[in-house]
């Protein structure tokens, strides 16, 4: 049996900021001047032709970036908004935990809000009274329940909202990201509740940025991109596609950012800045990081090879030249540095221009953001051109190692065989 059916649903919002007449006075003035109430106010399409179904008893995860329409979709399912086109059918009682607070009235006490919220969620007054103590206990708010909820912390808000919502016993529970703010103990309690919910054949729709939670919890996942369903299916498959998409976008953005910086560096060629200094007898014209495929990239998996290509130009011949690189962590920690002098690399005549390449065979950093320093200077350290902290790159890793760098290693575990 289908619990939730969404059929070709579209939703368009008016942009509030540029709304034509937000005051009655200006509306009246517009009218009196015979002005057409401004050209159709600008709108944006939050959802486009969204279609999916959730069988009863299943848990659906909705993922997507900020602004992809997840929360709008949930509000439509809850019945707070009405779709412009399409149809939504929800079988059974809907309970919604949307954003923080689940619709509490800040001036009212926790107890009053439980009553109001419970009634709104479809309980009778008597049912709320019967469960009042359970709700308070579950929310762990015994000592604050008579204070106005505006004095509550974000976590307390969420606990109260969740507690009322699960005690209202809906058939379809909509949850928007709220579990992100609870402390670990409470979140665990919530998930235990949700598990019990699921066992009783209830339907859950969960919006979350926490892909781990989604993949653990959901039977199916919908990925929204710009208000459209990009993918719908098995959690692991959809999440992997989504992850890859995000990584590609990030990598693309990183290249764009690098080009912008490089452009800036070139524009400001003659200027001495805190990021670049030197006499420029030898100039570093560009710095690129290349993937083995030869493609320029600034996002790497830990352990991948990276080729750093430095393009130089000699303006005035100099007696001696040293090329160097250094890698810094985002917080300024110097992770590694080397140059052609310390490694005794003999430099051929440089000519007028050329490239210096450094191949890092394994970029074994732990996940994080790093900076690349590049310099060309004289043997005695006199700088020709020093680029400091201009180029950044990101290292990704599936492991959650800590520290700076992965040291090649292996484990061996050898229990002693106990003599019986």
């Amino acid at each position: 049996m289908v619990a939730v059916q969404v059929d070709g649903v579209s939703k368009r919002f008016r942009r509030q900021t540029v709304q034509p007449s937000t005051t009655l006075k200006s509306a009246v003035v517009d009218f009196l001047r015979g002005r057409k109430v401004a050209e159709t106010p600008s709108t944006f399409q939050a959802l486009k032709e969204v279609t999916f179904a959730v069988p009863g008893g299943q848990s659906l995860g909705i993922i997507g970036r900020n602004g992809s329409g997840k929360s709008t979709l949930l509000k439509l399912l809850a019945g707070i908004y009405r779709p412009d086109h399409g149809k939504i059918v929800v079988h059974g009682k809907v309970g919604a935990l949307l954003e923080l607070g689940a619709g509490f009235h800040p001036e009212f006490s926790g107890r009053e809000n439980i009553l109001i919220n419970g009634i709104v969620l479809g309980l009778s007054k008597r049912e709320v009274r019967q469960q009042l103590e359970d709700i308070i206990r579950f929310a762990e708010l015994e000592s604050f329940i008579d204070e106005p909820v505006k004095t509550y912390s974000v976590g307390m808000y969420m606990r109260l909202g969740f507690s009322v919502a699960v005690h209202a016993n809906p058939d379809v529970l909509l949850i928007d990201e709220v579990l992100a703010v609870g402390d670990e103990g409470f979140v665990q309690k919530c998930f235990d509740r949700l598990a019990a919910f699921r066992r009783r054949g209830k339907t859950i729709i969960l919006v979350s940025h926490d892909l781990g939670t989604v993949s653990r919890w959901c039977d199916a996942v919908v990925w929204l991109e710009d208000g459209r369903v990009q993918e719908h299916g098995m959690p692991q498959r959809v999440i992997d596609l989504y992850r890859r998409h995000i990584a590609d976008q990030e990598a693309e953005a990183a290249v764009g950012e690098h080009l912008r910086i490089a452009e800036e560096v070139n524009q400001a060629r003659e200027v001495e800045t805190s990021n670049r200094w030197g006499s420029r007898e030898v100039e570093i014209v560009s710095v690129k990081m290349l993937h083995t495929s030869g493609q320029e990239r600034y996002v790497y998996q830990s352990g991948e090879p990276v080729r750093i290509v430095i393009h130089y130009r000699v303006h005035r011949p100099v007696a001696d030249t040293v090329f160097g690189i250094a890698l810094m962590r985002g917080d300024g920690l110097w992770c590694y540095g080397t140059n052609t002098a310390v490694e005794d690399i003999a430099l051929p005549p440089l000519g007028e221009e050329g490239t210096v390449e450094v191949l890092l065979e394994h970029l074994d950093f732990v996940a994080g953001t790093y900076y690349l320093d590049v310099a060309v200077h004289a043997m005695d350290g006199y700088p020709y051109d020093y680029h400091h902290g201009l180029y950044s790159f990101t290292v990704k890793s599936d492991l959650q190692e800590v520290g700076v760098c992965r040291i090649p290693h292996s484990w061996a575990i050898k229990p002693m065989i106990a003599v019986p």
Partner: protein, 258 residues
């Protein structure tokens, strides 16, 4: 149209809770509490009586009692409308996050102000007795006037509560409108004292018959004409219908714009 009312019935427990909460908030916060609700119309009565019968020396029998007959229903009417403008805006957080029919909110305002009006009635009767007014059969018309005023107030409050969400300057504008409206309504002067030439102006004011009817029934034990009753009821019904229609038109934009 029907669902608007059906939803109100379905959510009566919520309405009841919110009304109680509203009244409690008013009577719990200050030590004056209920006393203040009674004091407020009395102060108005006292000041107008001072200005008009002592300072300007207008001769009118039982003038303070006459004043109170109009001030009390006016306070119900004006406070419902004025508080109605913010009824939905103030509960925006509720409306944006949980599903419930938004007409509940202005309804709560109208009922809460109505209960305040009812609480003031014993005071009104007390003052009337104090000024030697004798009650008669005409009091039986009172519920009819009250019901008609309820419908009128309800309809108008529905409109202002929804319109205020789109046009944020409605609350202050309405404040001014209400204070002009007060003086154009026969509350501090009897309709009969208005010169013939201006009677038309007075009858253009839709709430005039209500106040005349209150004064006639309470002070003079007289009923207004059947036409006047008819007008009040028609007005109440029309205001309610228009109010519900306007509200239904705006209803779905409320959660998005509040």
């Amino acid at each position: 149209m029907r669902t608007t009312f059906q939803e109100l019935i379905r959510y009566r427990a919520l309405i009841q809770t919110l009304v109680l909460r509203d009244l409690k908030a008013r009577y719990r916060g200050s030590t004056l509490g209920l006393l203040w609700t009674l004091l407020n119309p009395l102060l108005h009565m006292g000041i107008y009586a001072l200005v008009f019968s002592v300072y300007i020396r207008i001769e009118m029998e039982q003038y303070p009692a006459f004043l109170l007959c109009g001030i009390l229903p006016w306070m119900w009417f004006s406070s419902a409308l004025f508080m109605g403008t913010t009824a939905i805006i103030e509960s925006g957080s509720l409306l944006k996050k949980v599903v419930f029919p938004p007409q509940v909110l202005p309804t709560v305002t109208v009922i809460a102000t109505f209960i305040n009006f009812l609480l003031g009635l014993p005071l009104l009767f007390g003052i009337l007795l104090l000024f030697g007014v004798t009650f008669g059969w005409a009091l039986l018309a009172l519920p009819l006037i009250i019901v008609a005023q309820f419908a009128l107030t309800f309809g108008l409050t529905l409109i202002v509560s929804a319109v205020s969400v789109r046009y944020r300057d409605v609350p202050p504008i309405l404040g001014h409108v209400l204070s002009f409206w007060f003086f154009l309504t026969p509350i501090i002067y009897p309709a009969s004292s208005v010169p013939e030439r201006f009677r038309a102006l007075l009858s253009l004011n839709p709430v005039t018959p209500f106040f005349v009817a209150y004064q006639e029934a309470l002070l003079y034990n007289r009923l207004v004409s059947w036409e006047a009753f008819g007008a009040m009821i028609c007005l109440g019904v029309v205001a309610l219908l228009v109010g519900v229609l306007v509200f239904e038109r705006l209803r779905w934009s409320l959660a998005e714009e509040v």
